[in-house]
């Protein structure tokens, strides 16, 4: 919240420093590394992220902070820390139930049918930009709950990646407060979490074992090329800060990361319109997803 930040940072006045050209340089720097671009309207967000780091460092002016990011000896670690501020997000379990319903009712049955026919009974999921791990943990619970039903006889792996080290560390620890757990039923809490004091819940070993965490920069082509054979990719509200060119590139990677018949889930307001036309937009009850058509679908018009 910009208001809170303004209150908490008496030494940095957003009004006087907003036009500081140093921020424009920091913007370019961040863009070059991560592909995350702050438009002029969103620049205040970048400023507030920098403000937190400037307070931590005791830095008073934007040009001085720019120096920390560019010329000082610790510039790499400072860049990492700023990126961590930038990519932080707060979310909760089961945030998009309609996505899980679409998986259960339509998408997974489709995929199981195709893969089952060739006895390839393994599924691969990827949460790209998993933040503090709510999404992969939700997915893991969902899959475990389907273990003896829809997914009987199937195995899966969940890859969960993020750029932010702090987030990844939190995700690996798997400790969540009431806010993140508020939509997790009592039954699931008991089954997959242990209480670790003061209304905190930690994912148990069974749940943790479902997920492999890794640091992946979506902008890093060599790492992106490496992720193959995915059935489902979740990348929700991650690409919203990316400029068109970077977004396009990431989405093209996702397309080749997915198997034909696979799906990409994005945030509910995120559209690939004029970003990519290889994917097909599919409406499910209460949600949408992008499908990578199978060879048969790609040939003709799907009814």
């Amino acid at each position: 919240m910009p208001v809170e930040i303004a209150k908490a940072t008496p030494t940095v006045s957003p009004e006087s420093s907003r036009s500081d050209p140093a921020y424009l340089k920091i913007r370019e720097l961040i863009y070059g590394i991560s592909g995350i671009y702050y438009s002029d309207e969103k620049l205040y967000l970048l400023i507030s992220r920098c403000a937190r780091r400037m307070i931590a460092l005791g830095v008073a002016t934007p040009p001085e902070y720019l120096e920390h990011l560019t010329t000082r000896g610790n510039r790499d670690s400072e860049l990492r820390l700023l990126l961590n501020e930038i990519t932080i997000g707060e979310t909760y379990m089961f945030r998009h139930p309609a996505q899980l319903e679409a998986l259960r009712n339509v998408i997974l049955p489709q995929i199981l049918k195709v893969k089952g026919a060739i006895s390839l009974k393994r599924l691969r999921f990827w949460c790209a930009g998993c933040s503090t791990g709510e999404e992969p943990h939700t997915l893991a619970m969902f899959l475990l709950e389907e273990k003896d039903r829809l997914l009987s006889g199937w195995t899966w792996d969940i890859l969960a990646t993020d750029l932010n080290d702090n987030s990844l560390e939190a995700a690996r620890a798997g400790i969540y407060g009431e806010y993140a757990m508020r939509t997790t039923t009592e039954v699931l809490r008991r089954k997959y979490f242990k209480e670790v004091g003061d209304k905190k819940f930690q994912a148990n070993e069974l749940l943790k074992a479902q997920i492999r965490f890794d640091r992946v920069n979506l902008r890093d082509d060599s790492k992106m090329l490496f992720q193959k054979g995915m059935d489902i990719i979740f990348c929700c509200n991650v690409l919203i800060y990316f400029d068109l060119a970077s977004k396009r590139r990431v989405v093209q990677h996702f397309y080749s990361n997915l198997l034909p018949g696979g799906y990409l889930f994005m945030g509910h307001a995120e559209s690939l319109f004029q970003v990519d036309d290889s994917f097909r937009l599919v409406h499910f009850p209460g949600t949408t997803a992008y499908s990578k058509p199978t060879a048969a679908q790609a040939g003709g018009v799907k009814k």
């Binding site: 307001a269 319109f273 004029q274 599919v282 499910f284």
Partner: protein, 305 residues
């Protein structure tokens, strides 16, 4: 559907007027529905609203609700002005067409039915505007009336239709697929017959008849294609028949979309995710209109909160 069934249904629909309480006002109302919204005359609407005391009261109540700024509206005329001619027109049609179905014969929850119909009307109209279709009002009407066959099936085949709906809900599949199995015909066919019986323009009865399969039309008209797509979109945004259908819908890959692309290339400039969000945003209005048609209770609750 074979010729015997068709003849029987036609006969039954002809007799609908006598078994239902469809009022004489339906004919002038349907006439008014054919006009573009800028040529609807206020006086005519006021006259139609005043025709029935209960309906006039509902208009006044809605106009006085917080949704419309809780104005001190005392006359039908000012109520109609506060609500807007377009809204009153749809309300009227909803109220009167409702009476085609006697209370004990509603199979589908009437509120769900009107939310779906109004939702489809609105989406059809907006999509028509987006792609540059010349008569968005007609598109609205086509969306509003596409499922009239529900009413016919409810009145004439109450128990069988109830069974269809129950099965469709249990199996999470489109209703018309079950109708075909159980009844041997669908609400599309009976809806088309009712439209013809009411002498609505052919384009509108085509929409009722072909909204689940535009390939039934020799040359799928743009209106039928728009209604088909809007109906699908409605059902994917919780504005269906009161249950969730387990399916994925690829609108751009749909035959109706493809048919529209040829004549209305502007459809290619539609960001469907954005459009879907806009539609979601308009849902409050739809729900409010439906509530105003159905319940004094709901409006009263709103008024006290």
């Amino acid at each position: 559907m074979n010729a015997t069934v068709q003849a029987k249904l036609k006969d039954q629909i002809r007799k609908l007027d006598s078994i239902s309480t469809a009022p004489a006002i339906l004919a002038p109302l349907l006439d008014m529905m054919r006009l573009p919204s800028d040529s609807i005359r206020l006086e005519k609407v006021v006259e139609l609203v005043s025709y029935d005391g209960a309906i006039a009261a509902q208009c006044l109540r809605l106009a006085n609700s917080p949704l419309y700024g809780r104005r001190e509206t005392e006359t039908v005329r000012s109520a109609v002005m506060a609500l807007g001619l377009e809204r009153v027109r749809s309300m009227l049609l909803g109220l009167y067409v409702n009476r085609v179905v006697p209370q004990d014969k509603w199979v589908l929850d009437p509120e769900a039915f009107w939310r779906h119909s109004l939702g489809c009307a609105l989406i059809t109209q907006r999509m028509a505007q987006k792609i540059g279709y010349a008569e968005p009002e007609k598109a609205y009407l086509a969306g509003l009336l596409h499922d009239l066959g529900f009413l016919v099936n409810s009145v004439l085949y109450t128990e069988e239709f109830r069974k269809c709906l129950r099965r469709a809900a249990e199996e999470h599949v489109p209703l018309h697929e079950i109708e075909e199995q159980v009844l041997g015909f669908t609400h599309c066919e009976t809806g088309q017959m009712l439209c013809e019986h009411w002498r609505l323009p052919k384009e509108l009865s085509d929409c009722a008849g072909c909204h689940h399969d535009v390939s039934l039309l020799p040359a799928a008209g743009p209106l039928a294609c728009l209604v088909h797509l809007s109906d699908l979109l409605c059902r994917m945004r919780y504005l269906g028949y009161g249950y969730e259908e387990m399916m994925g819908v690829d609108l751009v890959g749909d035959g109706a979309w493809q048919a529209l692309v040829a004549t209305y290339p502007a459809i290619g400039t539609m960001d469907l995710v954005r459009f879907t969000l806009d539609i979601d945003g308009a849902m409050d209005q739809i729900v409010a209109t439906v509530d105003s048609v159905f319940g004094a209770k709901k409006v009263a609750v709103t008024a006290t909160t």
